[in-house]
């Protein structure tokens, strides 16, 4: 394999980890409350601006800034759940789809007015790491590392802590969870908060190496769909694996055909998986 292709593949893989984080947020919300969160993309974009303002405005290291983005994301998620989602949680899918779409439009509307749609750029660099024929930008390496950390922490949270297990219980059988004394509405709010936090973190990481606008989240929202279906909607571990698959494809495809074919192939894969294995390659639900 020529070094150029190898570099592109490794680049894609690194990016895949970050896609995984974005997809985990979407798939967690779907898995727990059967809501497709159409505000996921704009929330990713807000995460990007979070990094921008914390770094450019306050001079905060982007990785420290992520801690703040995480907290704000969590709280924002509670608020969005309480204001827009909770009232339609038992209604047919279309209602929650419209509710999160409305949130999406508000973020994009206000965001466009305040931030325009011309690209922003975080002027931050960690140099690059050379390994044999490979040169990997430091920010990508850090993003991949942070993504793995986030995925690991999410796993520990869901499988080792009491609130995490409560999320899985509500996701598995909400009625039974109530019978155990679990306040399921609060658990749903928490899940939405964590999903939003993951969107913000993914955006915050992407901003360290790509320019962006308030509209940039849409691409990642679509990728999150594709990844969610690949890995099994509702399965956070599957989301990470799905992210890597997608990242890998994006690294390999440009070596053999024009870049514009990337989304075509991604969505062809999406449809194929839906047709052949609708529960995802790794099986669904946490």
């Amino acid at each position: 394999m020529p070094a150029q292709v190898l570099t592109s593949v490794v680049d894609g893989l690194m990016l895949g980890f970050v896609y995984g984080v974005a997809a985990m947020g979407m798939t967690l919300i779907w898995g727990v409350m059967r809501v497709i969160n159409l505000s996921h993309g704009p929330l990713i974009a807000l995460g990007m601006f979070g990094t921008y303002f914390l770094f450019t405005g306050l001079g905060l290291n982007p990785y420290l800034g992520l801690l703040l983005i995480a907290v704000v994301g969590l709280v924002a998620g509670f608020v969005i759940y309480g204001v827009a989602v909770h009232r339609v949680i038992n209604a047919p899918y279309l209602s929650s789809l419209l509710a999160t779409f409305a949130v999406s439009m508000m973020i994009i509307g206000v965001g466009t007015a305040a931030l325009s749609t011309s690209p922003f750029n975080v002027d931050f660099s960690l140099g690059s790491v050379a390994a044999g024929p490979l040169t990997i930008p430091g920010t990508r390496l850090m993003a991949a590392f942070a993504a793995v950390l986030v995925a690991g922490l999410l796993y520990l949270f869901l499988y080792r802590t009491k609130p995490g297990k409560a999320i899985r219980a509500v996701s598995n059988n909400r009625g039974a969870a109530e019978l155990m004394g679990i306040p399921s509405s609060r658990v749903l709010a928490l899940s939405f908060g964590i999903g939003t936090m993951l969107a913000g973190l993914a955006g915050g990481l992407i901003a360290t190496f790509f320019p962006f606008t308030i509209l940039s989240g849409e691409t990642y929202q679509l990728k999150s769909f594709v990844i969610g279906v690949l890995g099994g909607l509702g399965n956070p571990i599957g989301a990470l694996v799905g992210g890597l698959v997608l990242g890998l494809l994006e690294g390999i495809i440009p070596a053999f055909m024009p870049v514009s074919w990337v989304p075509v192939i991604e969505f062809a894969l999406f449809v194929l998986v839906l047709l052949i294995r609708p529960t995802g390659l790794l099986g669904g639900r946490a």
Binding site: K162, K165, A166, R168, A169, N172, N173, G175, A176, A177, E178, L179, M180, G181, I182, P183, S184, R285, A286
Partner: protein
């Protein structure tokens, strides 16, 4: 004071009324049986007691407190515990995690380890299967998890909907034996059961429901030996 008192409850689904003024009383430390043919409203009654269904009229009093408007998770936290019909396990979680979820409320939480050992002593088979996903167990084992999960809540009142449904006679006997032991330990129990003869045999007091009403009540043994009742309501 009764452990639980239900007074003149009416309830139903949507516009359809199912319960037409049901009253029940559970004495502490006793096993009360609630029997009646399929569709007579037993499950609907339990769901209304838990607050999963709204009571249209009437009152539910638990330990002297009116809980008619309390959300169901709060009733559960207070120790009003239902082992629901169809088990409703967390099928994607392990047996041990299911039991842990039973002890979610602050009240039973400190004794979780001890209670889990108790459940394993009652159902040794669950100890062997503790790391297995609940959804992969046999029907009988799943029912053990359902009852065990209920016990983890340190119930002040344990309500069981259809203990023996779909289980082999052998397992049914085992579960009834466990139930008798719980009762002897002083557990207050409300048992809904298809197997009327067995329910009456372990029960202290019994209610017979038909068409959303209580048609008959009395000491379990008296009811079981009353020919008229046997023929009319119990089908035995």
């Amino acid at each position: 004071m009764a452990a639980l008192e239900v007074r003149d409850i009416t309830s139903g689904y949507g516009e359809v009324q199912i319960l037409w003024g049901v009253s029940l009383k559970l004495e502490p430390g006793k096993l009360t049986a609630l029997v009646g043919s399929n569709g007579s409203g037993k499950t609907t009654m339990l769901r209304t007691i838990m607050g999963q269904l709204r009571a249209w009229q009437g009152q539910v009093t638990f330990q002297g407190q009116d809980i008619t408007r309390l959300p169901s998770y709060q009733r559960a936290s207070e120790g009003l515990v239902l082992v629901p019909e169809g088990r409703q396990l967390f099928t994607d979680m392990t047996v041990q995690e299911n039991l842990e979820m039973g002890a979610f409320a602050p009240r039973p939480q400190p004794q979780m380890r001890r209670n889990m050992e108790r459940v394993f002593a009652l159902f040794p088979r669950l100890a062997e299967r503790r790391s297995q996903k609940a959804g992969t167990l046999s029907g009988g084992e799943q029912q053990m998890v359902a009852v065990g999960r209920g016990l983890m809540a340190e119930p002040r009142i344990l309500m069981i909907d259809e203990l023996s449904l779909g289980l082999s006679p052998r397992l049914t006997l085992d579960l009834f034996e466990s139930l008798r032991r719980l009762k002897n330990e002083g557990q207050t129990i409300l048992l809904v059961e298809q197997n009327v003869a067995m329910a009456m045999a372990v029960g202290d007091y019994a209610y017979v429901m038909a068409e959303g009403r209580v048609k008959m009540e009395g000491h379990a043994r008296d009811l079981l030996h009353n020919e008229e009742i046997r023929a009319a309501y119990l089908g035995v």
